[in-house]
């Protein structure tokens, strides 16, 4: 197996994993604040269509990303109003948002289905991109790929090294205690939800503007759900989210390369297609099998509404 071959698998793996990382990290912050937002699929859809429409109109992918982010935040604000202010059931609100978002995106996106976008040239990093094998795979990527790496570091630092992160975790562990020492639980949860929405919107933008690049109804194709699952299987640890996302992307890409290589393997294609899901779950469960760390990492008040006593 030659090196360019390996390089192109690695390249495609990183691309496939990127939207998952961005969306999952947003969801991770949301859940760490004790809020379960199952709306990622819908938010991604709306983010994707908003980003596509703005990129199409302005020819600026950058503005497209901003539009996707704002659209994602607007969608998650809806969730916040329902689940945080009106204290509706979080699971039900999230599911409703998911279904609503997919439908809304299809509605807004109708005129854009016939439109093709120019593909955005990659952002080549000088020097690093000339490293053999790894250079072309890792450092000739879209800007959002580098963003996703920065995001991993930022989220990890925020959660475990900053005071704000500590407060956020406190809100997720025990909103009553956080409230009693004077933190605005609902306000912090709103911020976490908006952050999650923004990231899901950017993840959607990555799909429609950089990845395919096109808009069609249903193009998110379950990636929002995979991102949510990743957070749980990664036991709310940012680094493990990355491992899971690349593992998932890597298995998907590798099985396609195996199928396309003409190598005669006696494995049904259906099994190969399910491999990414299986492998990701097995590996993440295996590295997080310690029950006490799972309990330590999972936000204790996840999914529970909080009513600050007036």
């Amino acid at each position: 197996m030659d090196l360019t071959f390996f390089s192109s698998i690695l390249f495609a793996t990183v691309v496939a994993g990127t939207p998952l990382i961005i969306v999952a990290l947003g969801e991770l912050i949301t859940e760490k604040a004790g809020v379960l937002n199952l709306g990622a699929e819908g938010i991604m859809s709306v983010g994707a269509v908003a980003a596509f429409a703005v990129t199409h109109a302005t020819h600026s992918p950058m503005l497209g990303i901003v539009a996707g982010m704002l659209a994602g935040m607007a969608m998650s604000l809806l969730f916040g109003i329902s689940a945080l202010t009106l204290m509706a059931n979080q699971v039900a609100s999230g599911l409703a948002l998911s279904i609503f978002g997919v439908g809304l995106a299809a509605f807004i996106g109708k005129p854009y289905e016939s439109v093709a976008l120019e593909s955005v040239p990659p952002m080549v990093i000088p020097v690093l991109s000339r490293i053999p094998v790894l250079g072309p795979a890792l450092f000739q990527q879209q800007g959002l790929v580098y963003f996703s790496w920065a995001l991993i570091a930022a989220v990890a630092w925020f959660l475990y090294r900053s005071k704000a992160g500590l407060i956020l975790r406190a809100v997720g562990e025990s909103p009553v205690s956080a409230h009693s020492i004077g933190y605005g639980v609902v306000k912090i949860r709103y911020q976490a939800v908006l952050f999650g929405g923004a990231m899901a919107g950017i993840g959607g933008a990555f799909l429609s503007v950089f990845y395919t690049p096109m808009w069609v109804e249903g193009m998110v194709a379950g990636r929002g759900w995979i991102a949510i699952a990743l957070v749980v299987f990664a036991t709310w640890r940012p680094m493990r989210v990355m491992v899971g996302a690349y593992l998932f992307g890597g298995c998907m890409i590798t099985q396609m390369f195996v199928q396309g290589s003409g190598v005669k393997l006696d494995i049904p294609a259906q099994f190969l297609s399910s491999l990414p899901y299986l492998a990701t779950i097995v590996v993440l469960v295996a590295i997080s099998r310690n029950r006490s760390t799972i309990r330590l990492n999972s936000p204790a008040s996840l999914g529970q509404s909080f009513l600050p006593d007036a």
């Binding site: 093709a116 690049p213 096109m214 396609m256 390369f257 199928q259 396309g260």
Partner: protein
């Protein structure tokens, strides 16, 4: 009101019915801008135009296959539709059920095999177009490898892969066709990745049996760098691959819908009709050929198309060898329609392991 209608009818002269006949369509996905349902909707519009004021049509899109479909078909009938077209394989049982309840109405189901007195079926011989796409691919490939992004290993898809391979090998006996199953009818991201991985492994001819335009777009993107060409399916996708699309196989339902409805209105429609039409019946067409296709290839393809129209040639005429070399159809013989319809093996030249049955 009645007066006015009568006057209009008299003025119209040729118009036979005072009130237009209502016709319903059931679609499995959103109409969108390209793909299976888009082609059916184009056919619906053509038929409506061709028959002028005699008919009005309505459609319901994105109807899941199964119990929901039965409800939708029933609703179309009770809202006054005299003729209903259901356009996906999974609507077979719901359509048959509703047809049994409403003997006065006529039902037409695409790609199925159940018929009744008021239930007919229709399908197209897409594989004829695939064969010609394969011929073009075989003539133009430099790497002698073609890539095929496929949805599910069912006969409908296998048939296309085999016909494409037969066509390609007829002009390039060393050509190989590699298949990637994405196990989804519609996932642009996955379809694109599959196309990209075929391209990076040497395929310079790419086609697909999935519903989005992602594969053609991927070829367009890699066209300059790797000399990749694409063949579209369902619709002409040259808008998405203006330089890279060489040709494609498109579905044309308009003529069939017009003919069928016309016959039905005149009371001449045969009961339990089973239509399986190809180039001859005008139910498929090649997407316009790219300027890059050499004149002699264009000529060859046109000649083969004419021969298929005249019934003198079939993509599955012998010799047809299975992947391992066993003879499936002897020289001089032609595969029967029944065998084509249930094909579940790769022909020689497909360079991927056969899917498990």
């Amino acid at each position: 009101m009645a007066m006015r209608k009568l006057v209009l009818t008299l003025v119209g002269g040729a118009v036979l019915f005072a009130a237009p006949t209502k016709i319903g369509f059931v679609y499995v996905s959103p109409v969108g801008d390209a793909g299976w349902t888009f082609q059916h909707d184009m056919g619906r519009k053509e038929m409506e135009k061709a028959l002028g004021g005699q008919v009005t049509t309505q459609f319901v899109e994105n109807v899941p296959e199964g119990a929901d479909a039965e409800r939708v078909i029933r609703e179309l009938v009770t809202s006054g539709c005299k003729i209903v077209f259901t356009t996906s394989f999974g609507y077979m049982n719901p359509t048959a059920k509703v047809a049994a309840v409403f003997p006065e109405q006529e039902f037409y189901h695409a790609t199925g095999y159940k018929t009744a007195k008021n239930l007919s079926t229709y399908n197209a011989r897409f594989y004829e177009g695939r064969y010609l796409n394969g011929v073009i691919a075989g003539k133009m490939t430099k790497t002698h490898i073609a890539g095929y992004v496929a949805a599910f290993p069912i006969p409908e898809v296998m048939m296309g892969i085999d016909a494409f391979t037969q066509g390609m090998r007829s002009v390039d006996p060393t050509a190989k066709v590699r298949v990637i199953w994405v196990n989804s009818w519609f996932d642009p991201g996955k379809e694109r990745e599959a196309a990209m991985s075929l391209i990076s492994q040497g395929a310079d001819m790419i086609t697909h049996h999935t519903d989005s335009t992602a594969v053609v777009q991927a070829a367009e993107e890699k066209h300059k760098e790797k000399g990749v060409w694409a063949f579209s399916y369902h619709s002409d996708m040259s808008k998405y691959g203006p330089t890279a699309q060489l040709s494609g196989t498109t579905h044309i339902w308009g003529d069939y819908y017009t003919r069928t409805v016309k016959n039905a209105l005149a009371g001449k429609q045969k009961p339990a009709e089973e239509i399986w039409g190809g180039f001859k019946e005008g139910m498929i067409k090649l997407a316009p050929m790219n300027k890059a296709v050499p004149a002699d290839v264009v000529k060859m393809v046109n000649k083969l198309e004419a021969e298929m129209k005249a019934g003198k040639f079939s993509p599955f005429q012998g010799p047809v060898l299975a992947q391992d070399g066993t003879v499936k159809v002897a020289k001089g013989a032609t595969m029967s329609d029944k065998d084509i319809n249930s094909i579940n093996y790769y022909v020689q030249g497909v360079d991927s392991p056969a899917p498990k049955q």
